[in-house]
């Protein structure tokens, strides 16, 4: 177990270094165009660019620059954002926090809902309940976020006038503004997780040990809760962990649509404005989250599955 964690951790660090190298080569070298032009704009003159390069150390050898850059990153100095005129960290952290809030509420509702419905439909494959849940799941998943965002806005904002149409939180945090973006995300992702859970549950229900449990004369509730659930939830657990990634950077459309000041919207803004330092920091954070959730998924999987844990 200790070796597994150590190994996964080593792999995590390795991935991050590789990604950082790719990022550095793409954004900080001349390979994809002069960084000075990227920052100062194409109407700057050569003199200004040279001054900028000198000031920011771009005339030093590349390897040295990479090491310095990486060192700064590791010590928390993420550079200056050109767009927001301030340290990257000050810009990014509140945005990250906002997305975390959105993600938390999405998960808090989506996971219990999809697991429950998935288990219910997987318990009796082919039953009426199973079919209705499956059809509903396919329906919601097949409507893309931008479409459902429009539909929900039309319904709740313009027709019923229950909810605000933007979620910029300009007057401080307001829970009401969170509802629509979260709803769009829940509806989109629910079908996927529910279907995974359903497939896993249905497979477990046909297994021989469930037959054993039934023929032991256990109450049906105990068969499901004690024998089926634990095995059926192993596969969805991995899927759920991977959804965290998606929530971090895959929510650009939703955040943009509702003008929610989150991480996804920040990435979009950074890339539209050639804000290199900000973009680099966002990319590193996204990678970091991706690798961490992967690792957690792997370790969690071994914990849930005693066959891997004790062998």
């Amino acid at each position: 177990m200790v070796t597994l964690i150590a190994k996964r951790f080593g792999f995590m660090v390795f991935t991050m270094i590789v990604v950082s190298l790719i990022l550095f080569i793409l954004l900080e070298t001349d390979l994809t165009g002069d960084p000075a032009i990227r920052v100062l704009g194409q109407f700057s003159n050569e003199e200004q660019r040279e001054l900028w390069r000198e000031k920011h150390g771009y005339n030093q050898p590349m390897l040295l620059r990479y090491v310095k850059w990486l060192g700064n990153f590791a010590t928390g100095d993420l550079g200056e954002s050109i767009r927001f005129k301030g340290p990257v960290a000050d810009v990014m952290l509140p945005r990250l926090w906002n997305t975390a809030i959105l993600g938390f509420w999405t998960f808090a509702i989506m996971i219990p809902l999809s697991l429950t419905l998935g288990v219910l439909s997987g318990m009796k494959e082919g039953s009426k309940l199973d079919r209705s849940i499956s059809v509903f799941g396919i329906l919601t998943t097949s409507v893309p976020e931008f479409a459902s965002a429009v539909i929900f806005s039309a319904l709740f904002v313009f027709t019923l006038k229950w909810l605000p149409g933007t979620s910029s939180m300009s007057g401080g945090f307001e829970f009401k503004q969170l509802i629509l973006p979260a709803l769009v995300l829940i509806v989109y992702d629910f079908g996927y997780v529910a279907r995974m859970t359903r497939a896993s549950m249905a497979e477990v229900m046909t297994s021989q040990y469930i037959r054993t449990a039934i023929l032991k004369g256990l109450p049906y509730k105990s068969v499901i809760v004690k024998h089926a659930l634990r095995n059926a939830l192993i596969a969805p657990f991995t899927v759920i962990m991977l959804q965290i990634n998606w929530l971090l950077s895959g929510v650009i459309v939703v955040e943009f649509f509702f003008a929610y000041k989150g991480f996804g919207a920040l990435i979009l803004e950074a890339s539209l404005n050639n804000d290199i330092a900000l973009l680099e920091a966002c990319a590193m954070v996204a990678v970091c989250v991706a690798v961490t959730t992967q690792t957690l998924a792997d370790i969690g999987y071994t914990f849930l599955n005693p066959r891997i844990r004790f062998s």
Partner: protein
């Protein structure tokens, strides 16, 4: 047993059907059965005959599309078919318990054994957790599991197959049921483990007075465990009776056909070949008019057997409960037909084809745990084969016998070039092939050494036609290159394996298991091999099909003078068809010699135990009982001395644990590896005692 006793279970005129889109499929028809307290009933038949359906019907667990069409199942006076879910739940597990074919699949992989055991009494009785735990521990001891405390805390995958089955049995017995259903409880286990389980089951029924219904395809096991037996064919019982009456005087042609399909210890492959039942089991919706067996029956009489469906009938001059479903049983004298099969000639042995000399195969295993990392012992060896020595001649059948994990399949892999030998030589036709991978062998070398695999269901590519698959082999081996000639060769091969020629165009899914295995044999013989390795070629097939495939394999061998290396765990088949036997245990050859030498003293103690474990379907054959204790040691940590010392019933002392046993030559090519002196081993009695023909019951009867 007292016939006045109230029966535990009565099935009366039971008809069970499955309802599918294609319509109603009758799985079991007209089934009647009475189980008395303490009685063990055997249900025997081939796959698809409805024996498991009966068990599931008794448990009332039929799935969504199965149902009882008519008849009743009365358990202790209550009709199970009429009970509500709650009432059923109270009976299941506490009054009727079941034991399954695959112990591993029937235990929940993510719950500890203790949880799975304790919940049985907790669900059915009003007792405390401590009490349940005490009961579970006691029961684990009763099913003879060593160290019950440790087993309680283990997960299923940490136990061996035999231990798992003992746990499942313990689980079934925990609430002291009055009826135990056993559905092929030992089919997935090794022979010596099987012997232990069979003994345990018999002890239990004695100790607790539990009635049992024992379902099996193996007539020998039924004989060892049961009081009465029901033979099923295509959804109906064709014959029932006590073990004695039915095994001594089988009356139904199908029962007799089954007996003719299993090699008895008296059978000789040349003088009395197996007599397979011709044709195939009809599908449930294709059952013929009248007697279901008539298209395959040798005693079929037109206008009598194919008109009406008829009932079971009491056999006139036999025990009161011997009944048979045959109109002509009186006219058929089955005894007159035994030993009447065609005789086949023995082959002359030719040149030496295979010579295995001190062959070793070690696997490297990397241990990635922190402990191994610190101590520096990262690479360990699994000693799959340790100094194998033996030879095989042209036209000879050499059997390699041993339980799972003994290294027999590893040896086959080295022969085929799928693995490389670590040391020593394997000479095939004079050339050392132990370290030539199959990719580096010439097509001719590959063609001359071929294999028939265990599971015919997975070895054919499902998306290619049969003809295409065989043609490809012929082309690859360079036997023929012209298209027309290849086609002719495929036709000839289909003739050889006795399949219709239009199978050329069929896809594997259209074939039955036996037919698939015939294709597997045709494929192996496509390049005129000098040697064929058959890895358990019939163990996945039904008895009657297995007999046909075995005979076919031997006919082809006779014709082509092929050397056959037969890998098997089934000693009765091995006894029947092989000339020489190699007994393996944990990678070592413990004994090798001709079939007669292996089956007679002196025995290596492991051979002795193996022989004792073979179930024999003949009530007049007696056996000495030797039940091995303990598990097969891990190949990573084999015992220092004799590999068998941990389980040996003749262990003589520390020498067995510490020193590897010497090879003792009894006669030429009969070698025993043991510390016990040959003189002493020669004193040992025969394990299997077969009565002479004159001593036989029916011989005495007719005098």
């Amino acid at each position: 047993m007292n016939t006045d006793q109230e029966p535990i279970l009565v099935c009366k005129d039971l008809c069970i059907s499955y309802y599918t889109r294609a319509g109603e499929i009758p799985a079991v028809v007209d089934f009647s059965l009475t189980v008395l307290p303490g009685e063990t009933i055997g249900i025997v038949g081939e796959s698809g005959c409805g024996k498991s359906t009966v068990a599931m019907a008794i448990m009332q667990h039929m799935g969504a599309n199965g149902g009882i069409k008519s008849g009743s199942i009365t358990f202790k006076g209550r009709d199970l078919t009429q009970l509500s879910d709650d009432e059923l739940r109270n009976i299941r597990g506490s009054e009727v318990a079941m034991i399954y074919q695959e112990p591993f699949a029937s235990l929940n992989p993510s719950l500890k054994i203790s949880t799975q055991l304790m919940e049985v009494p907790l669900a059915h009785e009003d007792i405390s957790t401590e009490e349940a735990r005490k009961r579970a521990l006691q029961m684990l001891g009763d099913v003879k599991l060593p160290d019950p405390e440790r087993i309680m805390e283990a997960y299923p995958h940490q136990l061996s197959g035999g231990q798992q089955q003992r746990v499942v049995i313990a689980m079934g017995l925990l609430s002291n049921p009055s009826l135990l259903l056993l559905d092929e409880p030992t089919t997935a286990l090794d022979v010596t483990v099987e012997a232990g389980i069979v003994k345990l089951v018999a002890d239990i029924s004695k100790k607790y007075g539990t009635s049992q219904i024992y379902i099996s395809h193996n007539l020998g096991l039924i004989l060892e465990t049961c009081d009465r037996v029901f033979v099923m064919y295509s959804g109906e019982v064709v014959e029932e009776g006590t073990i004695n009456s039915l095994f001594t005087w089988p009356r139904h042609p199908y029962t007799h056909g089954l007996f003719a399909c299993i090699p008895l210890p008296t059978a000789d492959k040349h003088a009395a070949p197996l007599k397979p039942i011709r044709g195939q089991l009809p599908l449930p919706f294709e059952r013929p008019q009248g007697c279901y067996y008539h298209p395959r029956c040798d005693h079929f009489k037109e206008g009598l057997c194919d008109v009406d469906h008829f009932k079971m009938e009491h056999v006139v001059d036999s025990a009161p409960d011997h009944r048979v479903r045959c109109l002509r049983y009186k006219e058929i004298d089955i005894r007159l037909q035994t030993g009447e099969g065609e005789k086949k000639e023995a082959l002359e042995l030719g040149e030496r084809v295979l010579n295995v000399d001190k062959m070793k195969k070690y696997y490297e295993v990397r241990d990635n745990s922190l402990k191994a990392l610190i101590s520096g012992k990262r690479i360990r060896y699994v000693k799959a084969n340790e100094e194998l020595n033996f030879t095989a001649h042209e036209g000879e059948t050499v059997a390699i016998v041993g339980e799972s994990g003994c290294g027999k399949s590893t040896f086959a892999k080295v022969l085929m070039g799928l693995e490389k030998g670590t040391e020593g030589e394997v000479r095939h036709l004079g050339k050392d092939i132990s370290d030539i991978a199959v990719r580096d062998r010439s097509p001719k070398e590959i063609a001359s050494l071929q294999m028939v695999f265990q599971n015919p269901f997975d070895t054919l590519n499902p998306s290619h036609s049969i003809g295409g698959q065989i043609s490809r082999v012929i082309k690859k081996f360079g036997v023929e290159s012209d298209k027309a000639k290849i086609f002719n060769r495929v036709m000839k091969l289909l003739d050889i394996v006795k399949l219709p020629r239009d199978f050329y165009f069929r896809k594997p899914r259209q074939l039955s298991g036996g037919q698939k295995q015939r294709i597997g044999i045709a494929r192996a013989f496509a390049g005129n091999p000098s040697m064929v390795i058959a890895d358990e070629p019939v163990s996945a097939l039904d008895v009657s099909v297995a007999a046909a495939v075995t005979e076919l394999l031997m006919d082809i061998q006779r014709e082509h003078k092929t050397t056959l290396l037969f890998i098997s765990h089934d000693l009765s088949v091995v006894r029947y068809l092989s000339d020489r036997i190699v007994v393996m245990y944990l990678g070592h050859i413990l004994e090798r010699g001709t079939t007669e030498q292996i089956f007679a003293p002196p025995y290596q103690p492991y051979t002795e135990a193996l022989l004792s474990a073979v179930p024999i379907a003949d009530p007049e054959v007696t056996k000495r009982e030797i039940v091995l204790e303990g598990n097969l040691p891990s190949a990573m940590k084999p015992p220092k001395g004799c590999p068998f010392c941990t389980r040996c019933h003749r262990r003589i002392g520390e020498i067995c644990d510490n020193e590897p046993p010497p090879e003792q030559v009894v006669t030429d090519r009969h070698v025993i590896k043991c510390h016990i002196s040959l003189e002493e081993l020669k004193q040992v009695e025969h394990v299997i005692h077969v009565p002479d023909e004159a001593e036989r019951l029916h011989a005495r009867q007719s005098q």
